[in-house]
Point group: C2
Chain length 136, copies 2
């Protein structure tokens, strides 16, 4: 069971060009090829790409993924270091979670100000622009 780059792309919702780019960057060190040099993706490759996409979407740089791959190639004795990298990313996830919570609060506050202005409870000049939509 192996897939062409197009099938991989469709299953992952990720452009084929991006997958090639990842391979070029060393994030996919062992992708097999058919007799014409075409890439053959196994289920495991798709899993790994999906995992990388998940980490990328939450702010892990391509370079960090590359480092994890290089450590994995080096062997299981690098697991402590890899664990550290993941723990660091987990801290980063927590930081971002806090940022999201702050942003939710800010958005809701702003929406409530808009409502008060429209209900006439707040002077537009004061509550609208002067307060924080750009300052005055």
């Amino acid at each position: 069971m192996s897939f062409s780059i197009k099938e991989a792309s469709e299953r992952l919702g990720c452009p084929a060009h991006t997958i090639r780019y990842y391979e070029k960057e060393g994030l996919l060190p062992f992708i097999k090829r058919d007799e014409h040099g075409n890439r053959l993706f196994e289920q495991q490759d798709l899993h790994w790409i999906k995992l990388m996409t998940c980490f990328r979407a939450t702010g892990m740089p391509v370079a960090a993924l590359k480092k994890i791959v290089d450590l994995a190639i080096a062997g299981p004795q690098t697991i402590p270091e890899r664990r550290l990298l993941l723990e660091n990313h987990k801290q980063e996830l927590k930081r971002r979670q806090q940022e999201l919570d702050d942003a939710f609060e800010a958005v809701d506050y702003k929406l409530s100000v808009y409502n008060e202005i429209e209900n006439g409870k707040l002077d537009a000049k004061h509550g609208d622009f002067k307060m924080d939509d750009g300052t005055q």
Copy 2:
């Protein structure tokens, strides 16, 4: 009560150059100047910059902030449109929250795999690299 750009920068933890860049982009349309042309930041300006920083950190593009500022300048009749922009950002926040949740799960799964390898419960070749740290 007004602040120099350096004071603003220190209070916000945001480089002075970045604040100037925001002004140039139209995100700070009404920053006052002293008799020498130096920027004078009021408390309200700092609040607005802080709010923008909060939105930026959670993925709102500079262009979207610019649009909000332009609408605010246009007057309170643009509040429905501004509300829409904020509602959209709120949806984006929810999307990112889900991404973070997925990433937490993925990190924890990976960490548990590392633990199993180190405890000898899992073959390194299988559970470590072959499973998903790079694929093989």
